[in-house]
Amino acid sequence: MAQYAILIYEAESGYANGGPEVWKEVGEAHTRFAQQVGEHGSKIIGGDALEPTATATSVRADVVTDGPFAETKEALGGFYLIEARDLDHAIEIAKLCPARFGGVEVRPIMDTSGM
């Protein structure tokens, strides 16, 4: 099994404008996702939701600035670390991952054991 990160990119406004109803629905969707991952022969190894980019601080060459590294319409809002057989399997899991205000990006984890 190989490891992949599923990075969730969404428009933050969706949550800011959505209110508690949206939070509840999305929370339930993620609980369902966690169940489905096992049924699809994969495993969640880690992951978390991130506070919005308004809370981000960027550090570049020791210079500290307010805000995220790059301003984009859809910001990284959370991630999962999963195990999958191959890219097709990882994509199958990624398709199940909730991201109603955007989409997800699948990235293989680099194997640094031989470095």
Binding site: R85, L87, D88, P108, M110, D111, G114
Partner: protein, 431 residues
Amino acid sequence: MNSDSTAASARDRNAIRAAVAEAHRREWGFVLAATARITRDLDAAEECVQDAYVAALDAWAKQGVPRNPAAWLTTAARHRALDGLRRDRTLRSKLPLLVPDQLDEPEAGEAGVGETGDDSGIADDRLRLIFTCCHPALAREAQVALTLRLVCGLSTGDIARAFLVTEPTMAARVTRAKKKISAARIAYRVPDVAELPDRLDAVLTVMHLVFTTGHTAPSGPALVRDDLVDRAISLARVLRQLMPDEPEAAGLLALMLITDARRRTRTDAAGNLLLLEQQDRSQWDTAQIGEGAKLVTEALRCGGRPGRFALQAAIAAVHGEAPSYAATDWPQLLMLYDRLLVAWPSPVVELNRAVVTSMVSGPQAALDDLARLEADGRLDGYHYLPAAKADLLRQLGRRAEALRAYQAAHELTENPAERAFLGRRIAEVSG
């Protein structure tokens, strides 16, 4: 030795070289696909296969050309691959490797390689290779480049020239795609039934793109274009052979064969573009049209809703088998276009359908269809729309409007033969 035997051996050497070149053209993909399963690394597989072709030059000169060149080359390449595996075991443990098919028996062991050159032990892995090259996680242009490089054995330089980019650009594109296959673990396998329709569509699209690039290249030397057309047809033949129950594979091959059968009649001696109604039908390759038409019948008989390639091929077959433009079965074409619109709702199909409508119901009915297409805006900037409209207006004798439409088409067209054609039409309706 006397000069006769020297001449004879020179003739032999040429014959061997020709046999190796022929095997390169015909069998590269087969040999590479089988070798990649052992090396589990595309670069290493390419190296082993290249070595096997070099070794063939010598060995075939001594022993004669084997009965089954593909099997000989595969055995030689896989031996090299296994030698490499033994040498580099420690190095390889650090490299990301091609992901084997889960259902695969561990056939990559050393016992799996036949010593006799008998092909019975060598599985045909070309489908795995084709589906890997055309994986949707790769950009379309990378899919095309990889397919030509790995399945057809074209050099990076030839691919670069065909697609009008520099060789370093194409080399970078191929390298990046190979890296993604191994690092992201794109599996070396044929997709399962659930994924197959989408994945097959990508394969068909890539092969068709190779064909259309050769068939209507905007520029570039003529030889390269013919070569691309031939490569595309070979690819479609392989796909058809490997997926005999897949109607769209039959449809794609049929579409290419019938379209290509008119290759020699598409321009006149001066290189001017000739329309379907102006082409010399006696010069069409009727054998090739016949082969295509047979495949169309087969594809449409398969049950289920026919796909876009089978239907396009059916349309091409109706044209190909018509004795003249006027005597074409236009109502049959209209019916086929309606079915094509269901399988493939595209404004380009609607535009082509309008031309058929003009032959069944007259130019005015077709103009009404085009007005709807113009209003919806999806074909803005597509020069065939004003060109078709201009032609209908010309038929109705509305010359001033026709002139404006021809001029609009002329402004949007880049292909020199098409520009010249529109220029002649403009002169006609202005006179």
